[in-house]
């Protein structure tokens, strides 16, 4: 390529980078830096004494220890249980597979306040598994974290697994390797980037879990995230909150560096097939994995969900659909300003916005990060950016929300009372998911294909369209599904930003559950079931989209 051409390419990359950087800069970096900055500035001068003060407290260390412990345990379990799940749901063919895939995603979108009711009603003294005495224990928190994040592992790893070229493994088997050995030495290394991607996401979700910890952790369990919330919203102790935010960023950056390190060693060009997946009917040797996954999904996901559905069918007059017919009302004593159906509509519309924002920004970022420039400096930059773009998951919603308050407050960007901030805040959470879904696939594309296309005269955009996009097709659907799921279920930032006259579904559920009055609890549970079904439906549609767009073959 001539000098002029490569300069143009560089300019093209820079332009592609501007959109996501501008977006994240305006809606994430600036607000977060401003609110954290307030904690470190006293009387106009930098004052870092808060650090030594907060870090000298024994309580701070206990909180950090618990945060890391619960995130590590939650991640390890989610990966261990999720790998067989990914195999069963993405490599095996059986009736009801699409429904099963959607089912495991349901917990991911349930508002934590509902999960609290569903999970805790099983765990409390007198509940179905109350005899375990797990209520308010570390184990209960970890179980709930796995409940939420199982889908992240299954879907991220599964979608990679589904279009892994089966021939290397078949060759290994033909050469006499046992199934386990073929898996360990051929398939597992190929899956490692996807596993690392999923694990780093799950770790971030676990480390920053908020509602789950508050509801299920019971007395004494505080994480960095919940402590930031208390210090910011209740105490307005911005100094302590700022220190804790920096600590949280440190934990997150550390885990990301670890994930990047393990990925880098493994992330190689794989033979991916964009065409039909290599799934097969259940064979006898698959039965142990099928049984294991059935038990995991049954115990961890179906049981709490069933308890939720059952409770939603219980009305003051006995069993029935009364709670569901009530969704067309505003609740007992008009607890709501709008009907639940109206809120569901608002949720869907916001989800559409959040999805296109997150997909636009996420695809651009994934595209940039998947390049492998020859210059070491450019490579290092990409490595750093890779981590930076994950940070929105590592910063608490309250920090972002309070940051919005003090930054986006003057024209031309006085958006604080605008409903536009809701999809934007949700997109911030979804963008890292989009990146982590697309990136392993994009990076697995053989660079030589791109080089060949470039040599044949294609500019970067054509290369992307001709080489990357066909492989990406299936994962784009997955990413869209994730975006919708995140948006529909997001509560933390939404509750801050949504307007009372235009609430989303999780917001009305929270409100119904917080109001006395016969029937409001039942209605909240019925609304949660609707939310779960809505998400499942949207994800099933997204799955279909992706099969469709994957028609092009390499």
């Amino acid at each position: 390529m001539d000098r002029n051409g490569s300069r143009l390419t560089a300019a093209g990359y820079a332009l592609t980078a501007i959109v996501p950087l501008a977006f994240l800069g305006l809606f994430f970096a600036w607000p977060v830096a401003s609110i954290i900055g307030r904690g470190f500035v006293a009387d106009g001068a930098l004052d870092l004494s808060a650090f030594s003060e907060v870090m000298a407290r024994e309580r701070t260390w206990r909180i950090i220890g618990f945060t890391v412990a619960q995130a590590t345990a939650g991640t390890a379990l989610a990966v261990l249980l999720g790998l067989p799940g990914a195999y069963v749901l993405y490599r095996l063919r059986f009736p009801g597979r699409t429904a099963a895939r959607a089912l495991v995603t349901v917990p991911f979108v349930l508002p934590t306040v509902v999960v609290g009711v569903a999970f805790r009603s099983l765990l409390v003294e007198g509940g179905a598994v109350g005899s375990l005495g797990a209520d308010g224990t570390f184990g209960a928190v970890v179980a709930a974290l796995v409940f939420f994040n199982y889908a992240v592992v299954v879907r991220t790893v599964g979608s990679m697994w589904a279009h892994l070229d089966p021939r290397p493994e078949q060759t290994a088997r033909a050469l006499g390797a046992s199934p386990w050995r073929a898996f360990r030495e051929v398939t597992l290394p190929a899956l490692t980037p996807a596993i690392a991607s999923a694990a780093s996401l799950v770790f971030l979700f676990c480390a920053t879990a908020f509602g789950t910890v508050l509801v299920l952790g019971g007395l004494g369990y505080r994480t960095v995230e919940t402590e930031i919330w208390v210090q910011t919203t209740q105490f307005l102790d911005l100094r302590t909150a700022a220190v804790l935010s920096v600590v949280q960023l440190g934990v997150v950056a550390g885990s990301l560096a670890l994930a990047a390190w393990s990925r880098r060693r493994r992330e190689v060009a794989l033979r991916l097939r964009a065409g039909a997946t290599d799934d097969h009917l259940v064979r006898r040797c698959d039965l142990p994995l099928v049984a294991f996954t059935t038990v995991v999904v049954g115990g961890l996901i179906v049981t709490p969900l069933t308890s939720l559905v059952l409770r939603s069918l219980r009305t003051p007059e006995g069993w029935g659909l009364g709670n569901y017919t009530n969704l067309a009302t505003t609740g007992s004593r008009d607890a709501l300003e709008v009907t639940v159906w109206r809120a569901a509509l608002t949720s869907l519309r916001i989800a559409v916005d959040a999805t296109w924002i997150a997909m636009t920004v996420g695809v651009l970022i994934a595209f940039l990060l998947s390049r492998r420039p020859r210059q070491p400096a450019a490579r290092r930059t990409i490595g750093v950016l890779d981590g930076l773009f994950m940070l929105p998951l590592g910063v608490s919603a309250v920090t972002v929300g309070f940051g919005f308050l003090i930054t986006l407050n003057r024209p031309p960007v006085d958006l604080r009372s605008s409903i536009v901030l809701v999809p934007i805040a949700q997109a911030l959470v979804a963008i890292p998911l989009v990146i982590r879904t697309l990136l392993p696939v994009l990076r697995a594309v053989d660079q030589r294909l791109r080089d060949a296309a470039a040599v044949l005269g294609a500019n970067p955009r054509w290369v992307f369209t001709a080489v990357d996009l066909p492989v990406l097709g299936r994962s784009l659907g997955l990413a869209v599904g994730f975006c919708f799921a995140v948006s529909l279920g997001e509560f933390g930032a939404t509750s801050f930003l949504s307007r009372p006259d235009r609430p989303t579904l999780p917001v009305v559920i929270f409100r119904l559950i917080g109001q006395p009055g016969t029937g409001n609890l039942g209605m909240a549970l019925a609304a949660s079931v609707v939310l779960a079904m809505l998400t499942t439906g949207v994800i099933a549609v997204a799955e279909r989209l992706r099969v469709h767009s994957a028609g092009a073959d390499l």
Partner: protein, 352 residues
């Protein structure tokens, strides 16, 4: 620049513009065309008023009321303090006595003496500067599942000290004062009841197996055995006004009652925000909150008692939702000075 790159720039600019304006499926409506203008009311999440009342108010004044919810009372006040230089709205409703001093000392409120504020229930006024206008109040007390105690043949507890007795071991659930406003209110009740010894009282409760949930809904619906809960604990921290809502359809007496000797009085205030764009509108809004229609609406919509004396109450409240005769109270100045310290001490006693 090649045409393709130019197109990419155009696309990039387009995306940024779209993002900024979210030209999307959501249309942003506001009522700025109305003759009286818009008045923005910042509240906590529990604010509610009957639609017809609000519509009547808007019609008679020509104002458009826009509400903005900002979390619970603590979060509300702290957000207002943070955004003081560019206020979030014109009027605020929902500042309670636990956070009132912070709001006043941070200077986020303008004085306004509403003509309606002359005939209030005694003891509700914050101070004599009229920065905060009392709108409603309620008592936070322990609620008892009477059926449970009848079934188990155990006498119902009556006092704070009873709750720490072995007979009531593992029966009480309260909420965390750091994360829940009734939790903080009840902590204040124990501070008033026991003075310096309040941490000893909590140590006794802890040893007697008190459970602490993070929110009212979690405690009331999951841990509590009465009401719609399935839980195993028959004593729960809630409100004096909760029992009327537990009357079964067709029933005539609530299966729960409030322990009126364990109550803390919460008062909720409204005020005009300093730097408001529409201070006149904010004042009209406060007059409206003290008007009889709004005051009569309060018990129905927000489950608390109206602040204007002699406002008629719903009949079931008269029968089943009595208030404490002599609730515990802590001066707002003391709350402001010691709130964080008390919560820290509480955490050290009960949690650590």
């Amino acid at each position: 620049m090649s045409p393709i790159h130019r197109r990419r720039v155009a696309a990039a600019v387009g995306v940024v513009m779209l993002t900024a304006t979210a030209c999307s499926t959501l249309e942003d409506t506001d009522g700025s065309d109305d003759p009286g203008g818009t008045v923005v009311l910042v509240t906590h999440d529990s604010f509610a008023v009957s639609k017809e009342l609000l519509a009547e108010f808007e019609e008679s004044t020509g104002l458009t009321v826009e509400t903005r919810a900002s979390g619970d009372a603590g979060s509300l006040v702290n957000q207002l303090v943070l955004s003081k230089d560019a206020p979030l709205g014109d009027a605020v409703y929902g500042i309670d006595n636990a956070f009132a001093s912070r709001a006043v000392s941070a200077g986020i409120l303008e004085p306004y003496a509403s003509p309606g504020a002359t005939d209030l229930v005694a003891g509700l006024a914050f101070d004599d500067t009229s920065r905060l206008t009392p709108v409603d109040y309620g008592d936070v007390c322990i609620n008892v599942d009477r059926e449970w105690f009848a079934d188990h043949d155990i006498p119902e507890p009556q006092t704070f000290d009873d709750l720490a007795e072995p007979a009531y071991e593992n029966l009480l659930v309260v909420t965390d004062p750091a994360t829940s406003s009734p939790g903080l209110a009840w902590l204040l009740a124990t501070v008033d009841a026991y003075d310096e010894d309040w941490t000893d009282y909590w140590a006794r409760l802890r040893d007697n197996g008190v459970r602490v949930s993070d929110s009212w809904s979690d405690a009331y619906f999951t841990d509590f055995s009465g009401a719609e809960g399935d839980g195993s604990r028959p004593l729960v921290l809630s409100y004096a006004s909760s029992p009327p809502y537990t009357v079964a359809r067709g029933g005539d007496e609530p299966p729960t009652r409030a322990m009126l000797d364990t109550c803390f009085r919460q008062v909720e205030y409204a005020g005009v925000l300093a730097g408001a764009e529409n201070p006149e509108g904010a004042q009209q809004l406060i007059d409206f909150m003290l008007s009889q229609p709004f005051q009569r609406d309060i018990p129905q919509k927000m489950y608390v008692y109206p602040a204007v004396s002699e406002t008629p109450l719903p009949p079931e409240w008269e029968r089943f939702g009595p208030l404490a005769d002599d609730p515990y109270q802590v001066s707002p100045a003391a709350i402001d000075a010691y709130r964080e310290e008390w919560i820290r001490q509480w955490t050290a006693t009960v949690v650590d």
